[in-house]
């Protein structure tokens, strides 16, 4: 083949040099075609040989993609061309990585043997093939679905959010399907008889299956991560709607920013506010909050929580004609490394402001020469760039927010301005690159899938396919929405906090239940039981919410290494290990064969 190419090249070069250009192109093309045909024939002839088979798959995939691309180029559908190239690159990348992984797992060890067979099984399962196709089409197709007239920043954020949610869902599903199928099917179709009559312990078997899942997920997460990065960069190169838009994208999305939350200037300020509030409440409702003058420690926990919440909400509110000072500490790294820090705020007017805007005046570090006024959309995020030179030597930056009376500006009525207590007021500064942040996000995703793989294997050890898959999915969904679910449960029916003595907590349910029944409030009694079941279930479910990277990536927030470390410890070691031990204990004790008499 090489000689064909060389000969063709030489003849065409000679023709080219002798000014017979058209003939040169023809000759070269013909020889190239001949060489390609020869290669194709060879691959077809030796297709049963594994190496030729693999090359054949790559060549066939590439040829198909090239054909599609040519069609799209002819019809000037550039977006589709890019999508096709993306699908091709992801598929081929995964295929090559898979071959590499199979090679790595080809050692003569039982665990590796089981892991490698799991890989083979996984990629040859029909359900998995469908999920893989969806996965490889999903990421390249999302850019096509995003409205190109939107702001560029918003488009990139949308892409990042959708693609991360998409791959998280698909990969979770894939993990559950593969892990549950592999173990339940082997038990049902009895391939396990053969494996277990070889020198493989049951623990090694489970470990091998899990390892296979972990490797498969690592490959897929890596391929998806590279694809997301590439498409994000492609999207970022699209024309922005306005110059600020492009700047915003690079400063607020394609970065990794550290978040600093505000603190009161005087640490005693909040506890003082707490005491004051408590005193007021005790005068109003002594039966709930105790008699005035009683010790604060005698307060019931629920009451304490409620008051704390009120105090903090009050601190995040600025009433008209007054100001509130917020101090951001620990900004020394920002002062050293960055030009500006971003002050991100989301004001929400208590009333309905005119034109949906609120006015604020800001004063930095109590310096009257550093004052600015801003007109900000009500209930919208707004970012103010603050030069780092304003940060003092201790690394502190204090920002005083003044709520000017409306009549002073446009004659409107005065309203209080509130800030969301979680992310209404934040100071952000760049600490790392988008690439590194995305890598950490992918590691978080992988750790989560590792746990999920073990969970699905564990359910498969004692349940049949449908029930095991459902249970694993249920736990996965509950774990993903753990913070939301816990919140809803505690809102749904009152439930004692962990600080209450154990006995009271245990007795709370029956006591409350009987109380409700005696009062004839059957619905409340029922709710109590639902809450009991729900919260017991949630106690057993690990929280994924904390380790979910989607929001952070879409908003350019830093995912610190200690978060990854914590995820590795909790998801990767503790939860996976505990689930694995449970799975092993069940699997070790059970009889693998069934009664047949």
């Amino acid at each position: 083949m090489l000689s064909l190419l060389v000969a063709g090249g030489a003849i065409s070069a000679w023709l080219w040099l002798t000014d017979q250009r058209l003939a040169a192109i023809w000759v070269n093309g013909t020889f190239d075609l001949l060489a390609a045909a020869w290669l194709a024939m060879g691959l077809w002839r030796w297709r049963s040989h594994p190496v030729a088979g693999r090359i054949g798959v790559v060549v066939a995939g590439t040829a198909t993609a090239a054909l599609l691309c040519n069609i799209f180029i002819v019809f000037e559908r550039n977006a589709l061309t890019i999508t096709t190239v993306g699908v091709w690159a992801m598929s081929i990348g995964f295929y090559l990585a898979l071959q590499l992984a199979r090679r790595l797992l080809s050692g003569g060890w039982p665990v590796l043997g089981v892991a490698r067979t799991l890989l083979d099984e996984a990629v040859r399962l029909k359900a998995v093939a469908v999920l893989l196709v969806m996965l490889f089409i999903l990421v390249p197709c999302i850019p096509l679905l995003i409205d190109p007239t939107e702001r560029l920043t918003y488009r990139v954020q949308q892409f990042l959010t959708y693609s991360l949610i998409g791959i998280t869902t698909l990969l979770s599903l894939l993990t559950i399907v593969v892990a549950v199928t592999t173990i339940t099917r082997e038990l049902e179709q009895r391939q396990i008889f053969l494996t277990m009559s070889k020198p493989v312990s049951r623990g090694q078997y489970l470990l091998g299956k899990w390892l296979g899942m972990a490797v498969l997920n690592a490959l897929l997460v890596a391929v998806c991560g590279v694809a997301i990065y590439t498409f994000t960069m492609l999207l970022a190169q699209q024309p922005a709607t306005m110059p600020e838009d492009a700047r915003e994208l690079h400063e607020q999305v394609l970065v990794a920013r550290q978040v600093v939350s505000p603190r009161p200037q005087d640490p005693a300020q909040l506890s003082q506010a707490f005491s004051e509030r408590l005193a007021t409440l005790r005068q109003q409702e002594p039966q709930l909050y105790g008699q005035p003058g009683e010790a604060e420690s005698a307060l019931r926990n629920e009451a304490r929580d409620a008051i704390q919440k009120q105090v903090i909400t009050a601190w995040f509110a600025v009433s008209p004609r007054s100001s509130q000072t917020y101090v951001f500490r620990g900004l020394t790294p920002a002062r050293q490394n960055a030009q500006t820090v971003q002050f991100r705020l989301k004001p929400k007017s208590a009333g309905v402001p005119k034109e949906d805007v609120v006015y604020l005046a800001l004063r930095f570090n109590n310096r009257n020469d550093r004052v600015m006024t801003r007109k900000i959309g009500d209930g919208k995020y707004h970012v103010i760039e603050v030069p780092t030179e304003l940060i003092d030597d201790k690394g502190d930056l204090s920002i005083e927010i003044y709520n000017p009376p409306r009549e002073q500006i446009d004659g409107g009525s005065a309203t209080t301005i509130n800030f969301n207590t979680t992310d209404g007021l934040q100071l952000l500064y760049r600490v790392d690159s988008f690439e590194a942040n995305l890598t950490r996000a992918m590691i978080l995703l992988w750790l989560r899938l590792c746990f999920l793989g073990m969970l699905a294997l564990a359910t498969g050890t004692f349940l049949g396919f449908p029930v095991a898959a459902l249970l694993a999915t249920l736990i996965c969904v509950a774990a993903s929405g753990s913070s939301f679910l816990n919140q809803s449960l505690s809102d749904y029916a009152a439930f004692p906090k962990a600080t209450v003595p154990l006995w009271d907590r245990l007795m709370f349910i029956p006591r409350g239940f009987i109380d409700f029944l005696q009062k004839g409030e059957f619905w409340n009694a029922f709710k109590l039981i639902v809450a009991l079941i729900g919260s017991s279930f949630m106690k057993l479910v690990p929280g994924f919410s904390e380790f979910s990277p989607t929001q952070s990536i879409a908003y350019g927030l830093h995912l610190p290494f200690h978060l990854v470390g914590r995820a590795a410890l909790w998801l990767g070691v503790i939860w996976t290990g505990a689930t694995g031990i449970v799975a092993w204990l069940i699997f070790r004790a059970r009889e693998l064969a069934r009664v047949q008499v």
Binding site: G107, G108, P110, Q189, Q191, F193, M196, S197, A593, V595
Partner: protein, 468 residues
């Protein structure tokens, strides 16, 4: 009949073994295995016989640790059956080949090889030899899910042998196999026994068990009803069979007179019938050799169909050149070229020279049988010598390979089984066990044997190397 003496080293010991299956409410539902005691010794082919549902498979699964006994004890190589280390020396062929449908033959064997800590080179060599031996090398890259039952069975057998097991546990090994495969398995079992391996065979096909087993236990309803060596259970101690080429009625009468002098009578005179198995093997072999000469002419017919379907998995399909190549490979060169000690299934090698009986030429010659009451104690050796001499006088040579007549007589105290065995029609060369002195030793046979040899040997050597 098996000749070798198993040593008394116990490989499997079941004591008071019971398995009761309980239902959801933990009530006893079925007693699958009911207080059985079994002992399988080293080098022995032990047959577990019984109808469907008699507890054979349950017993085997308990021996493998797949089921836990309700009560009683099991020791395999003196250890608990669920200990992982003992599995190193066990090969197991389940009642059906439970294979991963998505792997091909090569990958399947690779997988099981990995489980035995075999490195790449070891696996490659063994798998190549095993695939050749079971005749699946041509379809090694096809997914196992596409295999016919017999082909899957062959892969199952190959995986059971991947570690050169000391103990081979075969659950219904011949189910789903064509007669050629069945014969191959029986030969294999005998061969393994010759090499000192232990085989636990579980079957309800009586002929299989009878052909290869040293000892059998017959199970019914979860209990062992009868146990003992095949000789003890099957040999009729009160009969003698003499086999010779076809006799004229006059000769028979003359023999009868001789016997009458010793107070015996001929009970039955007839021509031996060929076993159907043998007939089948003959026909297949003939058709194959014709198929080779008239290539492409095979069409349609039932036999041809079978051949095309199984051509790929028949060792006979291997071309001569390939065989020679195989023989000259280092692995093949280790093979013993001398005729191996034969499998017990094929009779005494020195008693008869092979006489090929064409299937068409089997014409039963009915002869009048007379019955007389047994008389006084005879001089048996003299009796037989006289018979021999008589036949020689009448010009009937035992060596003449035309047809044969069997004479059954009541002759006591003669080890009769070899004579009984020899009434089988000779095997065609290619299907013959190596011990029989075939006139044209078939190449395929030698290849298989040499392969098996190197397969078993290479691992042994490896282990020896490890030990030293």
């Amino acid at each position: 009949m098996p000749q070798n003496n198993p040593t008394t080293d116990t490989i499997i010991k079941c004591a008071d073994l019971t398995k009761v299956f309980k239902d959801f409410w933990l009530r006893n539902r079925v007693v699958a295995v009911d207080h059985i005691d079994l002992e399988v010794n080293r080098g022995e082919v032990f047959g577990l016989l019984g109808p469907n549902g008699s507890g054979k498979s349950t017993t085997i699964k308990m021996i493998l640790g797949l089921l836990h006994p309700t009560s009683g004890r099991i020791a395999v190589f003196g250890r608990h059956p669920r200990e992982v280390s003992i599995k190193q020396d066990i090969g197991y062929l389940p009642e059906e080949s439970y294979l991963y449908q998505f792997l091909n033959a090569q990958e399947t064997l690779e997988y099981y090889g990995r489980l035995f800590h075999q490195n790449r080179a070891q696996r490659r060599r063994r798998i190549e030899q095993l695939l050749h031996w079971v005749g699946l090398e041509h379809v090694a890259r096809r997914p196992v899910g596409e295999y016919s039952k017999g082909m899957a069975r062959r892969i199952g057998l190959a995986q059971a042998l991947i570690n050169d097991p000391q103990l081979l546990i075969l659950d219904e090994p011949t189910s789903g196999l064509d007669p050629i495969g069945t014969r191959q398995i029986k030969d294999l079992i005998s061969e393994l026994a010759q090499r000192g391996k232990t085989v636990l065979l579980c079957s309800h096909l009586l002929a299989d068990v009878e052909d290869v087993c040293h000892r059998v236990a017959i199970m019914f309803g979860g209990k062992v009803r009868k146990e003992g060596t095949v000789d003890q259970l099957l040999v009729r101690q009160d009969m003698t069979t003499i086999q010779t080429s076809t006799l004229e009625p006059a000769v028979v009468q003359e023999i009868e007179q001789v016997l009458a002098r010793h107070g015996r009578a001929i009970e039955r005179v007839d021509s031996p019938r060929q076993k159907l198995e043998q007939l089948f093997l003959d026909i297949v072999h003939q058709a194959q050799s014709e198929g080779a000469t008239f290539s492409g002419a095979r069409s349609g017919g039932k036999l041809a169909e079978f051949l095309t379907a199984s051509a790929a998995h028949m060792p006979e399909d291997v071309s001569a050149q390939e065989l020679i190549d195989q023989l000259t490979t280092p692995a093949g060169s280790k093979a013993r070229q001398r005729p191996l000690p034969g499998s017990p299934a094929h009779g005494r090698p020195d008693s008869q020279s092979p006489a090929r009986t064409e299937p068409g030429s089997v014409n039963p010659v009915p002869a009048p049988g007379k019955q007389q009451p047994p008389a006084a104690e005879p001089d048996l050796d003299a009796n037989l010598e006289q018979l021999d001499r008589l036949m020689a006088e009448m010009g009937v040579s035992q060596k003449k390979p035309d047809a044969r007549t069997t004479i059954e007589r009541e002759l006591a105290h003669q080890p009769p089984e070899e004579v009984v065995r020899s009434d089988q029609v000779e095997l065609p060369d290619w299907a013959k066990s190596p011990r029989s002195e075939s006139e044209q030793p078939h190449k395929q046979e030698q290849v298989d044997r040499s392969l098996l040899d190197s397969l078993l040997k290479s691992d042994k050597e490896k282990r020896k190397d490890k030990g030293e």
